[in-house]
């Protein structure tokens, strides 16, 4: 019987002449067989007397060849930086491994003014999907999306997309957001601090970092107030850099030496702060810190409490599928706890997945040095976050008695009873909570 390849482009078409040549050998019913062409098999099956004399020819066409989807990434730093670009590259590999029929490539260490040539070269390579992974690449990506309407663009950490209405429809925005996890880190900090003073090494005073600091301090205030009845104190120093381990080290030791901070969190792409905490632990000083973007336990096995971790893979896989199946839709994804998790419902504390790898953002393993009550609290909140049953920027997130609204450093009430910080409040946060002693640089 004949089996036509579904894809006529593969050059192995069977001509009508060949077909007739074959059927010529049929002594009876040849004309009938020829007339029904490709549907012959089913027809012949119903005519057993003909089937016996029809020569059966089987041509196996090559497997349908799907062209791999070409994807290009533009990274702002070197992939060996361990932090941001490394995280994205890990996400790329994760998604490639699962999607298989993908041909991805990347350009690393692209300074912001040079992003347009980088995008152009990826387009010239035939990339259908281009992913740019730095805030500063946003406008250039939107311009490229205008220029190449038949290509697809994803920009990480920005706010321009077709969905938002401020870019063309072939551009999407995505981000893995950490403020919930920083709040959980804060709970851990409040549970273990002995001095009642916590520190934060910040990269730049921009809304993203500011809301992470606030979430961290709110969590610490909640746990510390619950534990001791006193208010937490917090100190912040700024690096004005995303990747600067030596600077982060100096800043971390400044917080410890000068202000007695004993739990340090940070926004810097290396484990430098965690390593400083570990060195103090070796000197028998109880100083704690966290992972950042990836599980960094090996750099501070004693000092590590938990930490926010991101896996960009599921986000990328989603876009691969959209492009490969031609089902693109411009989206603005702000992945939080629960997103891309296979089971995004609240679980019981005993069954909590806090500290396990799942979805896009999740907690690094939780150090058992945190008192059990507070580990349970962290797990409870984590589970509630999956369904947005709990949000950090609320009165319940701030005060264990549920009485105090969230105030800024000037004493103004920023989030009152029954309120939650919404998208705009989170996106443009330009105030620090009252427990932080340093003003926000302007």
């Amino acid at each position: 019987m004949f089996k036509y390849a579904s894809d006529m482009d593969n050059g192995r078409k069977i001509s009508r002449r060949e077909f007739l040549g074959v059927t010529k050998t049929a002594t009876i019913g040849g004309i009938i067989a020829a007339g029904i062409a490709g549907g012959a098999a089913g027809y012949l099956a119903r005519m057993p007397e003909i089937k016996e004399v029809t020569k059966t020819v089987t041509i196996t066409p090559p497997p349908a060849k799907l062209m791999p989807t070409k994807v290009g990434y533009v990274y702002v730093g070197p992939v060996g930086d361990y932090g941001w670009s490394y995280g994205h590259d890990r996400g790329r590999k994760w998604a490639d491994e699962r999607f298989k029929n993908i041909e991805s490539s990347y350009i690393e260490s692209v300074p912001e003014p040079e992003v347009t040539p980088a995008i152009e070269s990826l387009v010239a390579k035939g990339c259908e999907l281009i992913i740019t992974t730095s805030f500063g690449f946003m406008d250039a990506t939107a311009e490229a999306a205008e220029k190449y309407p038949d290509k697809y663009f994803v920009h990480i950490s920005g706010y321009r997309s077709g969905a938002a209405g401020n870019a063309s429809q072939n551009m999407s925005a995505a981000f893995a957001e950490f403020y919930q996890l920083y709040y959980l880190c804060g709970l851990a900090a409040g549970a273990v601090t002995q001095t009642g003073v916590i520190g934060y090494v910040g990269a730049y005073p921009i809304p993203e970092v500011v809301r992470h600091i606030n979430a961290y301090v709110l969590g610490a205030q909640y746990a510390y107030k619950k534990r001791t009845g006193k208010n937490i104190k917090a100190h912040v120093t700024w690096l004005f850099s995303w990747v600067a381990p030596e600077q982060a080290r100096l800043a971390a030791s400044a917080l410890i030496d000068e202000k007695n901070c004993d739990v340090l969190n940070y926004t810097e792409d290396t484990p430098a702060v965690l390593m400083v905490a570990e060195e103090y632990q070796k000197k028998n000083m109880k100083v704690w810190s966290f992972s950042h973007y990836s599980d960094m336990r090996e750099y501070g096995p004693t000092a590590h409490l938990t930490g926010p971790v991101a896996n960009w893979g599921p986000i990328y896989l989603d876009f691969y599928r959209m492009v490969a199946t031609k089902t693109w839709q411009s989206v603005d994804i702000w992945a939080r706890v629960g997103d891309y998790m296979p089971w995004r419902w609240k679980q019981l504390v005993e069954k909590s997945t806090a500290g396990k790898e799942e979805g896009t953002v999740y907690l690094a393993p939780i150090n058992p040095v945190i008192p059990d009550d507070y580990v349970s609290l962290i797990k409870k909140r984590y589970e509630e976050m999956k369904e947005y049953l709990f949000e950090p920027f609320t009165v319940e997130g701030h005060d264990p008695d549920g009485k105090e609204p969230i105030r800024d450093q000037d004493g103004n009430v920023r989030i009152g009873f029954g309120e939650r910080a919404d998208r705009n409040a989170l996106w443009s946060m330009d105030w620090l909570v009252e427990y932080i002693e340093e003003p926000l640089p302007k």
Partner: protein, 326 residues
């Protein structure tokens, strides 16, 4: 405010200052002999990358040794281009900086690093192949001395590399200013033609100082990695090579004064973050973060003024290639 805050500041100052000190010791010799080693930054990066890998494979001592061998090779390269081929020292120096930065990133890149480590020491566990930090030099507090207030934490509570660097500075000063070899080096940098006429081999001296400068630059990088901040990232030298170059001008090419210059720049770097906490510059930390670079820019621009160079007695033949027949 009590005086307690100053001790940790001074301890950190020495800890970071030694990076500058080691870099400047070799560089002073090169510049005293008339060669500007602008490749300092790149050689530092190479030293950091090499010491990172070798420490994991073979331990600290060999790490410093191998790093200095590579530094010497880079110094030889510098000498070949600037002394033998008489190319523009600034162009060659910048090229070496770029080469060093790129090469260091390449050899310490996770996949290359893994291959190198497996080749150097096949018995390494897989965690050692993956980890991106080197074990730090252990701190060796000196008994009794470390108890002295202020000075104790500043100088006597560090790792062995700090002590060696601090002792090397006066020795290198003595060699440069009180011995005949030092006199030869200085005369080559002041008037190579005259030195040549007196029978001093200008080329040999300059090759020697270039290689010495390479060794010390690499040691500075190795110390940065093993003694100060043991997590590897590409570009971890962070412009410290260029800051060292301006520090040398501040210390008027003297290894002894370089100690103070190094501590000054180290101190500024440490204070950047402390000042934010003390309420100074808290609203605009960018200003304090800019200080080391601002000072570097000012001193480097001053050097371009002929009168200023004369006043601080810069080596007269600095950055000038020597032609024997002129």
């Amino acid at each position: 405010m009590s005086i307690e805050w100053i001790e940790p500041v001074l301890a950190s100052t020495t800890s970071i200052g030694v990076v500058y000190l080691l870099g400047s010791l070799g560089e002073i010799y090169a510049e005293r002999s008339g060669v500007l080693n602008l490749g300092l930054e790149g050689i530092m990066a190479i030293g950091a990358a090499i010491s990172f890998i070798i420490t994991i494979a073979w331990g600290h001592a060999l790490a410093f040794l191998v790093a200095s061998v590579f530094g010497m090779l880079m110094g030889f390269l510098l000498a070949f281009f600037t002394v033998s081929l008489r190319l523009n020292q600034i162009a060659v120096g910048l090229a070496i900086t770029m080469l060093g930065s790129g090469l260091s990133g390449f050899i310490a890149f996770p996949t290359t690093r893994k291959t190198i480590l497996q080749f150097l020491n096949p018995e390494l566990p897989s965690t050692a192949l993956e980890i991106q930090s080197a074990p730090m030099l252990p701190s060796v507090p000196l008994p009794f001395l470390k108890e002295i207030p202020i000075v104790g934490p500043m100088f006597f509570n560090h790792n062995i590399a700090v002590y060696i660097a601090l002792m090397l500075a006066p020795m290198m000063w003595f060699l440069l200013f009180r011995t005949s070899i030092g006199l030869k080096i200085r005369s080559v940098g002041e008037n190579p033609g005259m030195a040549d006429a007196l029978g001093i081999n200008v080329f040999r001296i300059r090759y020697f100082t270039c290689m010495l400068s390479g060794v010390f630059s690499a040691l500075a990088g190795a110390y940065l990695m093993l003694g100060f901040q043991p997590f590897w990232i590409e570009g971890m030298t962070g412009g410290r090579g260029f800051i060292t170059l301006s520090l040398i001008i501040l210390s008027t090419w003297s290894p002894l004064r370089a100690i103070f210059g190094s501590l000054l720049f180290g101190g500024i770097e440490v204070l950047q973050y402390r000042l934010q906490l003390f309420g100074l510059g808290a609203t605009s930390p960018q200003f304090v973060l800019m200080l080391p670079y601002a000072i570097a820019v000012i001193t480097l621009s001053l050097l371009s003024l002929e009168s200023f160079r004369k006043r601080i007695s810069a080596p007269a033949a600095l950055a000038k290639p020597y032609y024997r027949e002129e």
